[in-house]
């Protein structure tokens, strides 16, 4: 008797609480349903992928997707839907392509740092879905610091792009350095390897002496931050080795 009362009462109170929580906190707003008037055969990123922004903030440029026919011309009126990982906001989440075949969406990144992969979807004439993965990069404090540090100390040589404000030294070097997004190069190096190269210069790992040592110039935190930045921007993405556990 006693136990049953316990269960029943807790069940009743619990159900009530759940109903109350669900009823109060979730009010769904229905967006008007969009009907595609055309269909393309390809979906491409026009611009706005792989942008770096502080976590939780909007991307500086909108994400523009383009729906093309098989000649590569934009298709007007095709439906594009975005699905985003938890924490990411996109506006609009679905839209019809404009006269250039383009769909423009504003993206706000999630609150944790790291790589967010958005998925854009369109449908071809046969109704089969075409999906494209669009990575965007959210910098936390450490990655942001790394970005600032590498911009001051590293990018003049490591970034081959020249601007009037900052002329690149990349092509002046006998052994051109690797751009930080070259995952094929950097993903092979462990954090300890990168720390050694940054701290003691290229010769620490039998690489070019044109890479000078920064161990006595940058703090440990700065070097870790630069590595975090390199890991964030690397393409293909960096897979952390993870913890190694003994077999049971």
């Amino acid at each position: 008797m006693k136990r049953r009362a316990w269960f029943r009462s807790s069940l009743v109170v619990g159900t009530l609480a759940v109903v109350a929580v669900c009823g109060c906190s979730r009010v769904h707003k229905k967006a008007p349903v969009l009907h595609a008037t055309a269909a393309g055969s390809a979906l491409v990123v026009s611009s706005g992928d792989r942008q770096l922004a502080p976590s939780g903030s909007p991307l500086p440029q909108p994400l523009i997707m383009q729906v093309n026919d098989n000649q590569g011309n934009g298709v007007t009126g095709a439906l594009v839907k975005f699905s985003v990982p938890a924490g990411v906001k996109i506006d609009p989440a679905e839209a019809l392509s404009d006269s250039n075949g383009e769909v423009t969406a504003n993206v706000t990144l999630g609150n944790t740092s790291g790589r967010y992969v958005l998925t854009a979807m369109a449908w071809n004439k046969a109704g089969h879905p075409i999906s494209v993965q669009v990575p965007e990069l959210a910098a936390g404090y450490q990655e942001e610091l790394g970005y600032q540090v590498q911009r001051k100390y590293c990018s003049r040589c490591h970034d081959p792009e020249s601007t009037p404000e900052q002329v690149s030294n990349h092509d002046n070097l006998a052994v051109p350095p690797h751009s930080f997004d070259q995952g094929a190069t950097y993903n092979k190096l462990s954090d300890a390897d990168l720390t050694a190269i940054i701290g003691h210069g290229g010769p620490a790992l039998n690489l070019s002496a044109l890479m000078p040592p920064y161990g006595s110039t940058l703090t440990k935190a700065d070097i870790q931050a630069v590595i975090a930045y390199i890991r964030l921007v690397s393409d293909p993405p960096y897979q952390a080795p993870g913890l190694v556990y003994a077999k049971q």
Binding site: G14, Q142, E143, A209, T217
Partner: protein, 700 residues
């Protein structure tokens, strides 16, 4: 006994069966007793803790994570900081390094930050209600002074509560603070910092007391209507004035202006027959490096140049030629506080530059401006408007006093309770949304508002909002040991005759000396220890740039020989590092072997050629200054000490500290001192060092 019987009867009358009420009462009691454990069992935090356990159950690192997991409410209590945070009750993975792949809240790992959570808690940075144990209570409630949770976008604001000096990892906050000073926000809104100082403006609004010497009423009218119509980069905001208001203010400013002797100058017309090269003016503009500070639209339509002074794209439409000539001759006469240097232009140069700048016009700007002479009533109304809009907060205007605290004080705006804010219909009712909307559209909050319309980019609005959100109650009440104050400028001014000359040339608008001055050009505090006297003298005569990739460069002032000697002597004597004896190592006379050893180190072990050039034919390094003539420029002791620890001589310089041995540093110094430049370069460095040591005494 009768009484008892009566009671029993009435009891039976009420309940018929005497046992039933006991049953009902005990069930009610049981239910009542069950409420508390049920509430606990179905509480939100319990739900999230179960969710966490489900999440980690099948992971490879489950064993470790489960060992770290402790059920129940977790709390960080920091009495010093007024922090009682129970956030970790639900946010269970914050310190789990292996959860880097989890982006689902509330289980994600906290991004790496330089502080520990146990030291500062959560609410210090994220705001919200630390003691609450429900999602809504912790995140959305505005009950305590911390208000609801701060959107992650503005997180840098929290760093600014303690860090009042710029931080490398908070670019948004730094930019916001810079903009508050650069756009003169703090001229109307006082911002007091916890250390008792106030944020100082970093703009230079011109005085308006003699404005009729400089420009016309028509231009003032067009400018007041919309500053951007004259210059795309105008920093003055748009006051959204009506035509009549702009007419009256321009009328007042012209009527109020008094001519100042020396504000205008007319040059003798050039000799007849003497043909002037039409490009000479443009060349002089380039040679004088006006573009270091002033922007101008180029043929491609891009605005190119610095932003220290005003944009000059349509300067010919703005200023009168006779004023421009007088200004170029000596800008301090018109505006004693201008950062513009006193170039010593010759009359011919003045004529060339005035002609060139006057040709930069925008004929559309004033095409439709026709103003009748202002009536006394209009002028009086204009003065009233000038007072109403607080023009004198920024500009010096004859007869109008600078208003005190024209706008509301913003010292603790970042903690303003939402209840005290007035929102516009349709906007999110939060403080960050209020601040950014106010910056974007200051006048939509009601009639009678005077805050002008700026045209900030979305990034700049975010930066300003971040900087304002950092001004919290908490930042004032934090223990003093946590406060990292802004580096205060000293009030150093160079003394004597050379000091007057330096003030006249406005050296400190760009150069910093002993903690005072600009940051655009190198710090000169130890220049006397660093450079050789002959080089300095030649440099002041003709400042050829050390870094050819820079847009901003030192302009050439037509200094007389005496002025140059005065300046050189002063810099060489007054600006020395007390720890450096610049004559400790000779300028030349190093042994060829040592020079050769230095060369090997330069190109081999230290690979200096990645950033520096010694042999322009071979080396391509473009980051540091070229070293082709470094042996005639720098003192050997300075080079030696620089090689040993560059940051000690110039904090923040990007040349890495190589932890060089004394021998290596000495050999490299010998090699670098052998780079005497020009003529001797061709014959190779080995012979150069010999010939240099032959012609110059070591005791120089």
């Amino acid at each position: 006994m009768r009484a008892l019987n009566k009671l029993w009867n009435s009891w039976r009358g009420l309940f018929r069966d005497p046992i039933q009420p006991f049953g009902i009462a005990s069930v009610l009691l049981l239910v009542a007793l069950a409420i508390a454990p049920a509430k606990d069992h179905f509480s939100e935090w319990h739900y999230y803790q179960h969710g966490y356990l489900r999440l980690i159950k099948n992971r490879r690192d489950a064993a470790v994570l489960q060992r770290h997991f402790e059920p129940g409410i977790h709390q960080i209590w920091l009495p010093d900081l007024g922090v009682v945070d129970r956030c970790e009750t639900c946010h269970l993975g914050l310190t789990e390094t292996s959860l880097g792949d989890i982006k689902m809240e509330p289980y994600s790992r906290h991004p790496v930050i330089p502080h520990s959570m146990q030291q500062f808690g959560c609410v210090m940075c994220h705001r919200g209600q630390g003691v609450a144990t429900t999602v809504a209570g912790a995140h959305e409630s505005a009950l305590s002074s911390d208000g609801p949770i701060l959107p992650a976008q503005y997180s840098e604001a929290s760093c600014g509560q303690c860090h009042h000096a710029p931080l490398e990892g908070t670019p948004t906050l730094n930019q916001g603070r810079f903009l508050l000073a650069r756009y003169g926000c703090v001229r109307c809104h006082t911002i007091k910092l916890p250390d008792g100082t106030s944020m100082q403006p970093a703009d230079t609004p011109p005085p308006l007391s003699h404005i009729a010497d400089k420009t016309t009423r028509e231009w003032i009218y067009a400018w007041l209507r919309d500053p951007k119509s004259y210059a795309a980069t105008a920093t003055m905001p748009n006051f959204l004035l009506s035509d009549n208001d702009a007419r009256d203010i321009s009328g007042f400013l012209i009527a109020n202006s008094v001519p100042e002797p020396g504000d205008t100058a007319t040059l003798k017309p050039p000799k007849a027959g003497g043909s002037v090269d039409p490009t000479a003016g443009a060349s002089l503009y380039g040679e004088s490096f006006c573009a270091s500070c002033h922007a101008m639209q180029n043929a491609a339509g891009n605005v190119v140049g610095g932003d220290l002074g005003p944009e000059l794209t349509a300067i010919g439409t703005k200023v009168k030629p006779e004023w421009l000539t007088a200004w170029l001759r000596d800008p301090r006469n018109y505006d004693a506080g201008t950062p513009m240097p006193h170039y010593r232009f010759t009359d011919q140069q003045l004529a060339l530059l005035t002609g060139f700048l006057e040709s930069k016009t925008n004929t559309d700007l004033l095409a439709n401006v026709h103003l009748d002479p202002a009536t006394p009533a209009q002028i009086a109304h204009g003065k009233k408007l000038v007072e109403e809009y607080g023009c004198a907060s920024c500009h010096e205007i004859r007869g109008v006093a600078k208003p005190d605290n024209y706008g509301p004080e913003l010292s603790q705006i970042g903690s303003k309770p939402v209840a005290q804010l007035v929102f516009v219909k349709g906007m999110p009712e939060t403080l960050p949304a209020y601040l950014s909307t106010k910056i974007k559209h200051p006048r939509i909050f009601g009639p009678g508002l005077h805050m002008p319309q700026f045209s900030f980019t979305p990034e700049q609005v975010d930066a300003l909002t971040t900087a304002l959100l950092s001004l919290t109650d908490r930042s004032v009440t934090l223990p003093a040991k946590l406060q990292i104050p802004t580096p205060q400028q000293t009030d150093y001014e160079p003394a004597g005759k050379a000091g007057q000359l330096m003030a006249d040339l406005n050296c400190m608008a760009c150069h910093r000396i002993n903690g005072h001055g600009g940051t655009m050009a190198p710090d000169l505090s130890w220049e006397g220890s660093s450079v050789q006297k002959q080089w300095l003298d030649a440099f002041l005569k003709n400042p050829n740039t050390l870094r050819p990739t820079l847009i901003r460069r030192m302009p050439k002032f037509n200094l007389t020989d005496e002025e140059r000697a005065e300046l050189t002597d002063y810099i060489m004597t007054a600006y020395q590092n007390p720890d450096i004896d610049r004559d400790a190592m000779p300028l030349s006379g190093y042994s060829p072997d040592q020079v050769e050893h230095g060369r090997e180190l330069f190109y081999g072990k230290y690979a200096c050629q990645s950033c520096h050039m010694v042999d322009p034919a071979k080396d391509k390094g473009y980051i540091g200054p070229p070293l082709t003539e470094v042996g005639s420029r720098l003192n050997a002791e300075w080079i030696y000490l620089w090689l040993k620890n560059p940051q000690k001589l110039r904090p923040g310089t990007i040349e890495p500290n190589h932890d060089m041995s004394d021998d290596d540093a000495r050999a490299l110094t010998a090699f670098l001192m052998a780079q005497k430049g020009a003529g001797s370069q061709k014959t190779g460095t080995r012979t150069a060092s010999v010939s240099a040591s032959g012609t110059k005494g070591a005791g120089e």
